[in-house]
Amino acid sequence: MTSKDKIQQEIEQTLQCLDGVKRAEANPFLFTRIKARMSRKANIWERTFSFISRPAIAVAIVVLVMAVNGWALWGGSGSNENLTADNANVSEFANEYNVVASVDNYDYENMPNE
């Protein structure tokens, strides 16, 4: 028997070695572990909700939200001024380099009759 034949024989035997394999058995305490994990999971949510619903935390969250809103309003008016200045710069640039004319090419509603 050549070594090639021997290798082929090994391959065949290896492919058949799972025939009649027994089923692996799970941990006998699997259910207990599942229950423990489920209660841990539930506990995390319970703890999160009880933490958020504490008066001090709830008040702090409300104050934080109001502060963010206030900042957004005040910050918004400041940025409007900047925006106006930016728009003025853009218009000045467009006039100087005649950019408006090229943009008109895409204004299909006001296309000049040819």
Partner: protein
Amino acid sequence: MTNETELIEQLKLGDEAAFKTIVEQWKDMVYNTILGIVQNETEAEDLAQDVFIKVFEKISTFKGDSKFSTWLYRIATTTALDHLRSKKRKKRFGFLQALGGDGDEKESIPDFHHPGVTLDNKERAAVLFKAIDTLPENQKTAYTLHKLEGLSYRDVSEVLNTTVSAVESLMSRANQNLRKQLEEYYNKNYR
């Protein structure tokens, strides 16, 4: 079957005793399927727990169109494959991968020993499992369900939601790939 339907109905109502019965009845099937795919006993146990927690949480979505065992097999195989994907992603971007490189995988020593394999087949089975680990996901799933769980091609096709001929084709390609892997292995290691 009626008993199974009753159990499922009770589980839908959140009955803990029904849940316990379901876990006890199907735990080996779930564990063995996952173990065949992930080839690691600790990970397989954690994932089996995940599967039953999913069953408890998602039982309301089980409409009874397929067998309960088919539904369970689907959850088990999906959970195991998701785990392998996330493990691969971590490995790909991991620090150890950068240090170790990935060129030696085929030559590494087969180290997974399935507890259901007889002692005289232990080494041989470890070599086969190493080869199974290189198969594409769908071939690996079909092969595991057929060889380790003893499912017929029809049952495998129901789990994979495909046709019997598609499973036949998957198994044929799996066998071809395994032969190729084993040939490489024995050419390098045959004494």
